[in-house]
Subunit: 241 residues, 2 copies
Amino acid sequence: MVDKESPLPMYYQIEEDIKKRIDEGLFEAGKPIPSERELSEQYEVSRMTVRQAISNMVRNRLLYREKGRGTFVAEKKFEQPLEGVTSFSEDMKRRGLSPHNELLLFEKRKPDETTGELLGLEAEDVYYLKRIRYADGEPMAVEETFIPVRLFPELTEKIFEEMSFYEYIETKTDVSIHRARQTIEAGIAEKEEAEPLAIEEGAAILQIERIGYLTTGVPFERNISTYRSDRYKFISDMYRN
Amino acid sequence: MVDKESPLPMYYQIEEDIKKRIDEGLFEAGKPIPSERELSEQYEVSRMTVRQAISNMVRNRLLYREKGRGTFVAEKKFEQPLEGVTSFSEDMKRRGLSPHNELLLFEKRKPDETTGELLGLEAEDVYYLKRIRYADGEPMAVEETFIPVRLFPELTEKIFEEMSFYEYIETKTDVSIHRARQTIEAGIAEKEEAEPLAIEEGAAILQIERIGYLTTGVPFERNISTYRSDRYKFISDMYRN
DNA sequence: GTTATATAGTTGTCTATACCAATTTTCACT
DNA sequence: AGTGAAAATTGGTATAGACAACTATATAAC
């Protein structure tokens, strides 16, 4: 059930076990799970440890509590929740598609005025990337990315070939991604967009601008993606405040 | 500072006090707050109680923790956060625009197949609304809404003239809105869309479909909005999971 | 000066217990 | 059968302590 000797924390193992029991149908949606005291006996841990596991699951909306009544299994969420900030690669993977890149340009340059303002830069260089993004071998989007050189002095072309930029940040650096503001608009393909996307001029395109911020509050990227509207829809789950 | 005799929980009072200290500038963004042990002495509570307060604030992204280093004040959020599920009226208001409606159609009817499936209906009627949405007097979007009659048997044309549907749900009924899945795509205006929006055929339009769900997990609306892309951009804040 | 090494400080995990507040169940009384 | 009080059960709050894992700093060795 759970392993006291495991390097994984007990509360985490308990979370996974409860999730398993929900998947197996032992705990049903809308019905109560055993009480915290009962679970603490089953797992042979203190009640506070069970509470920590349950609290995490409540935060993730898998369970909800009612004082004096018990803890209940929430109605199933979207089969596959589509939340949060994701890179193109991550987005494609969760759609079941296989992403790949064609790097058209990679250089250091002075940012244009808009980019400089959005990234809070003063006379600093940015990396500029222009890429064609493919999904299952078909062109899906053209993407321009601006990244302040100061934040990631070691970036190379090779890194962008080998891994997702977000993956790089989260595994190879000690900073972390916090949030992003995305602006989505519809447009008409000019020659500049139509050609790399292999569509007609005058076709509809979906343009997404994303400004990404680190936990420190510092903006770390401006990303402008132009998607083929016949192949791509932007899907996201939101919650009522 | 905090009051042991207060009926408010200690951890809640501590949260409020830390927020106050951040507002007053005693704790600065990006810098560490005192350690949990230090705070537990200051407030004369156990460390676990301080941890509970801090954990809540971390969940709300006001603070972030780094193991072995400390707990830090997060950079201020967007001045005006653009999160969550909102109705057209709410969306316009937070953009500083004044919304108004033109109701083209309001009737009960059998849902088409797609709508029936999305709303999980079997041989049940829906309300069908078609509206032109204005912002500061200018046409902004045409909107079609499908709502199962069973969920809101008392709906009338008058209600939609007087208030926002979301406001109605939250103030006049005992159910509440939980979440929504939005699908955004770009398209080209046909005559049907161009005319009510007062744009040319062939212009770009932004189409947003929203399926809304109640806390019980039951879908309560399908909303299809077609926006003028020259006047409207979809803006949203997202967080990294 | 540079490099290991110890040390002190931080959050992370966990225990065992206690009492409170809200709800459900039990059961005696009518 | 119905009513109402008491008891049991549940999650909510809080304590006091312990050790682990990680980080930064001071110290000793080279």
